[in-house]
Every structure is written in C-alpha cells, then in structure tokens.
C-alpha cells in the first residue's frame, strides 16, 4: 500500500463514519436536500481551498485569501452600484486583479526568499485595507443578473437543490485535480514541496512555479469571492475573517501534508465536506453550540498533523 495515500483514506473514512453517525441519529441527513445545501454552503470554501491546496503542496501558505474574498465582494458590489458595467465584465476585471495580486506575492516570496506566511500576511492587510477603502458598510447587490445566478439550480430527486455555485465548486475541484495531477506544472509544484534544492537540480523552474502557484491561489480567491457574493447577495469588508484558517484546516484534514509535497485535490474536497458536515450536524442537533465546530476542527487538524508526523517518522525508520 502506498503510505502517501494513507491520510486520504483516513480522511474518507472519517467522513463516511461521521456521516453514518449523523445519519443514525438524524435520518434526514441523507437527503438530497442536505447534500445540496452542503455543496452550496461550502462552495466558496471549496474553491478557495483548491487554491490553498496547490500553495500548501508547493511548501507555502497563503494567509491573504480571506481578505481577498472580502475585497472581491466589496469590489463587485461597489462596481455594480457605481458603474453601469455588466457583472460578467466586473468578474473578469476582478479575477484579473486578484490573479495579478497573487502573482505579485509569489514574486516577492521568491525574490526576497522570505517566509511565505509573512509576505502573504502583508497581502492580507493590503486586501482587507483596500476593501475598507472601498466601503466600510455592507453593500447590497441588486443587479438582476445576480437574481438569475442565485436562482439557477437543478431540482434533484427528493427536492434537493443542486445550485450553480455548488456545481461550480465541483468543477473547480476537478480543474484543480487536473492541474495538480496531470500537468508538468503540477508535478513541479509537488517537486518544490518535496524539496526545493532537489527540485532545482531536477530542472524545476522555481521562480516561475512559485509565481504561478500564488497567482492560481489569487485567482481561486477571486472566484471564491464571486461565489460568496452570489451566496450572500452583498459585499462586506468584514466578511470571511479567518477563512484562510478554515481553508488551511480543510486542506490538512483532506490529507495534504502542511509542509508540502504530498496530498490530493479530492482529499481537499472531502476535507471541506467534513467541515460542512460538522456544522450541519450541529444545526440538526440544535442543543450543541457552534463553537464546538472550531474545537472539533482544531482537534482534527492536530490529529492529521500528528498522523503525518508519525508516518514521516515511520518511513524514515524504515530506511
């Protein structure tokens, strides 16, 4: 058996087990309605987690994504309020902006040879500050096109709604999987995460790969911002505080090694759904409080980090 996939199996096992437990208590958990909501409610998180997965695989971290999502929402809302542009044009401009923003951070990380978390920390301040500058208050989005986006869903058997943003999230995960697992760029990302020195010797273009990784994360954060604005119907500069942590947790619970080089996109999807499941369970239960979500997620995070650490020790001892 491939020990690299062990965390992924653990992720899937935990998800299935948790779902089974929840189902035994609340049979309604296994309805298309709950599954549809699980996808819709976590769409923005899933998308941003795809970008985060690639960043973490490369051995980096991106703390700016929560702020970028908030900035995106405010940017869209203000642009739609103050200009006559069509939302699609605004989306295109926004995605260009966040991608360039990510690329800029990647460039600095590579050129300055400084830890990614401190560079993206500056990015976090910058994006949040820019969102404040655009608007401190929440700005509602009233464009008719948004109504169209929000009402786009497919009614599944059992009256569950498979929404556009839910489907988009699944599509993005698939895209992320192709990029990570089926392109030379993806292999380079894994190589960097496995060891930058060796990767360079093998011919990985370190600078270009780093820039592209953070550009991709910026793109995903922008896309996630669009999805979040569709989901909430507004833009608010104080939204999605701490989403970077949630995304990192989802990636790690999805079986990706936080130090880079090992992990899968599908695992990240399962990680996101696991976190969504915990929240759904707490809502169903009614008596449990929402803070248990954070505690359980933290414990899962610790568990997976220890699991990875243990696997590493085992493989080193085996040699």
């Amino acid at each position: 058996m491939n020990t690299r996939l062990l965390p992924l199996y653990a992720t899937i096992a935990i998800f299935v087990l948790a779902y089974a437990l929840a189902y035994s208590q609340f049979p309604a958990m296994l309805s298309t309605r709950v599954i549809g909501n699980l996808l819709t409610d976590n769409a923005y998180l899933g998308i941003v987690a795809v970008g985060m997965t690639l960043v973490i695989l490369s051995g980096g971290i991106d703390l700016s994504v929560g702020s970028v999502i908030a900035f995106s929402g405010v940017f869209i809302a203000v642009a739609l309020r103050d200009t006559g542009l069509h939302p699609l044009a605004v989306f295109a401009a926004l995605l260009l902006l966040t991608t360039v923003f990510g690329a800029g951070m990647g460039f600095l990380i590579d050129r300055l040879a400084m830890p990614a978390f401190i560079v993206t920390l500056a990015g976090m301040f910058l994006a949040r500050g820019a969102a404040y500058l655009l608007s401190v208050q929440a700005v509602p989005i009233t464009h008719p096109f948004y109504k169209l986006l929000q009402d786009a869903y497919w009614l599944m058997p059992g009256r569950g709604r498979l929404t556009l943003i839910g489907v988009l999230m699944l599509a993005v995960v698939a895209l992320g999987a192709v990029v990570a697992h089926r392109t030379r760029f993806g292999t380079s990302v894994y190589a960097l995460g496995g060891g930058a020195q060796t990767a360079r010797l093998m011919g990985v273009p370190q600078g270009r790969t780093t820039v592209l990784v953070y550009a991709f994360s910026g793109l995903m954060a922008g896309l996630s911002g669009i999805v979040f604005s569709v989901y909430t119907g507004s833009g608010y500069s104080l939204a999605t505080v701490g989403t970077e942590l949630t995304a990192i947790a989802a990636v790690v619970i999805g079986g990706t090694l936080l130090t880079g080089g090992s992990g899968t996109m599908i695992g990240t999807l399962v990680g996101v759904l696991t976190m969504g499941l915990i929240q759904t369970y707490i809502v169903f239960d009614g008596s449990l409080s929402s803070w248990w979500t954070k505690i359980v997620i933290g414990l899962l995070l610790l568990g997976f980090i220890l699991l990875q650490k243990g696997l590493l020790r085992l493989s080193q001892r085996g040699r």
């Binding site: 830890p115 301040f125 500058l133 409080s289 248990w292």
Partner: protein, 332 residues
C-alpha cells in the same frame, strides 16, 4: 551605550512620527489633567499600546528562537473569557487574574510541547491553537459577551496609578522585568544561541528543549496579561473579537523592532518601541483627519519594507554588487 545604539533606529522613527503628527495636529503632545487623571493623545497611545506591547514582549522571545506564535490573539480571548467567567461566578478579582494567567501558561505549555517535544514547526503548531482557541473561549463564555461589574478587576484595565493608566504600568513592568531577567541572567544568551544554531547549542550542553518550551510559556503568559487588560478595560469578554489580528500586530512590532524573523539577537525594548510606533501611526492617522481605513494598508507597506530590509537574498545580492563595484574601482 550598546542598548541605546541598538534601539536608536526605533527611537528616531518614533520621534519623526511624533513630529509628523504634531504638524497635522499641534496639540498632540499636550497633556491635561481632568478629574485628577491625565488625558491627552500621548497618554491614550501609551494605554492603547498595552495589548500589542505585551504580546510583542513574548513574541520577541519566540522569534529569537526562530519560532513564531500565531496563537497569542486567541490566547487573549481564552484568558479574557476565563477571567470574566470567574468574576461572574463571584470568585473575585484575584481569582480571576490567577485563573487567566494559569490559562495563558497552560496554552503556552501546549504550544511549547508541540514545538519542542513533538517537533512540529512553530508556525503549524501554533496554528492549531489559533484555529481551536476561539472555540474554547466561546465554550467558556457560552457564546455570549460576558460582562461584569467588579471594580477591582476593572481598575486593571481603566484605572490610574501614579499619574498613568494602569495598563501602561503593566506593559512597562512586564517589558522591564523580561528584559532584566533576560540580560541579568544567562537566559538571553541561551535563547539567542538556540535561535542561531540549535544543534551547536545542544552540543555545548544547552537544554534547548526546555528553553523552547519556556519561551512559548512566556509568550502565553504575556498574552494572558494582554487578555486581562483588554477584558478589564471593556468590562466584558468577547470571545469572537478579543485579540483578533493582534498576533499580526505583535509580529509586526517585533520586526519593526529590528529583530530578525530568522532568530538570534533580540531586543525587548526595541519590540516595545515597535508597538508604540504601530499605535502612534494608527492614532496619527485619526488625529490627522484621515480615515482609519488607511491603517491596514500602511501596515502592509511597513511589512513589505521590513521584508526587503531583512531579506537574505537582497542582502547577499547587495554585497555582491558592492564587492564587484569595489573590485572595479580597485582596478581602475
């Protein structure tokens, strides 16, 4: 003399900032006495610096060992919640403070063990508590904002003693105590040795494991003090927002203080000055009539400048450039 020359850049920056703000707001340095309390922008800055200055003291030690503590904001929330809980249970101010400090020490121990014994990178290890801790704080407050009316505890956050707000005395005393402990004992040297070359220090007989744990415990203790001050000031514990983002301000204060993120030589005094600089900027923006929204962007700019200054790659390229320049000059 050496201490003064070490903190000279921070002092100069602070003086320049004060001069700059005074231009926009001439009354910046004025202090009035109202109801027997001194009031004025400077007093306000000193008081508001308390949380970040306290966090920066602990963070300085952690960063000196090549580590980082991302959980300090969350520890503040936990300790604030613990104190408020004790007060609502009628346990009194002393018990509340003791409970909060114990919680901070325990949180630091948790981080320290994960880093030094389990061997998880500091950034990852403290991320766990950062994620989980607000849940713990909410568990204590049961999701509400726990308010209390204990005047004794409130005095810690908003009282005045010997002409200065109590929080100012707390951060001054903590910074001085830590600096003195570090420099009057051998702790400072040992911490620096571990941060610069953990293996060599280990081989020379330095107990790096215990030192690392101690450093994270110190950071947890400082965070607990910060949590107490904030909770006492607003007379309530807000598990969601107490200490939010302050870990970043603390890291910023430490690097503004000229301490390298790559570990080694440190100065507690310079970090505290860094905290004052951050607070002066925020206050200056407001006093000068700008929107507070600029605050974050200015901080981002500061981080960037410091990153460029500390970058090992930029430094080596600069040396190369200088040397080749010299060599050329030597030839002609």
């Amino acid at each position: 003399m050496t201490v003064l020359s070490r903190i000279a850049p921070q002092l100069i920056v602070l003086a320049a900032l004060i001069a700059l703000v005074s231009v926009f707001y001439p009354g910046f340095l004025s202090i009035d006495i109202q109801n027997g309390r001194p009031v004025g922008p400077v007093i306000d800055i000193l008081k508001r610096s308390a949380p970040v200055a306290l966090l920066a003291v602990g963070m300085t030690l952690v960063i000196a060992t090549r580590g980082i503590d991302l959980s300090v904001g969350t520890i503040m929330a936990i300790c604030g919640a613990a104190a408020a809980w004790a007060l609502t249970q009628g346990l009194g101010a002393g018990a509340a403070i003791a409970l909060a400090l114990t919680a901070g020490l325990a949180a630091g121990l948790w981080n320290g063990v994960l880093v030094a014994v389990v061997g998880i990178q500091p950034f990852v290890a403290t991320l766990i508590l950062m994620t989980m801790g607000r849940g713990v704080a909410q568990l204590i407050t049961e999701g509400r904002i726990l308010t209390f009316t204990d005047p004794g505890f409130g005095w810690v956050g908003s009282g005045v003693a010997l002409g200065l707000p109590v929080p100012v005395w707390i951060w001054l005393a903590t910074a001085i105590a830590v600096a003195v402990i570090m420099r009057r004992t051998a702790l400072g040297l040992l911490v620096e040795a571990v941060g610069i070359n953990r293996r060599a220090a280990h081989l020379a007989g330095v107990n790096a494991t215990v030192l690392l744990i101690a450093v994270y415990i110190a950071s947890g203790f400082c965070a607990a003090l910060a949590g107490i001050v904030v909770t006492a000031d607003i007379r309530g514990a807000d598990a969601n927002n107490a200490g939010l983002w302050l870990e970043l301000d603390a890291i910023l204060a430490v690097v503004i203080g000229g301490n390298s993120l790559l570990g080694g030589r440190f100065s507690v005094a310079a970090s505290v000055l860094g905290a004052l600089i951050i607070q002066t900027i925020s206050a200056g923006i407001l006093l000068a009539g700008f929107a507070s929204e600029y605050n974050l962007i200015i901080k981002a700019g500061l981080v960037l400048i410091i990153l460029v200054l500390q970058s090992p790659r930029i430094a080596s390229e600069w040396r190369l450039w200088r040397d080749s320049h010299r060599a050329e000059r030597g030839r002609t």
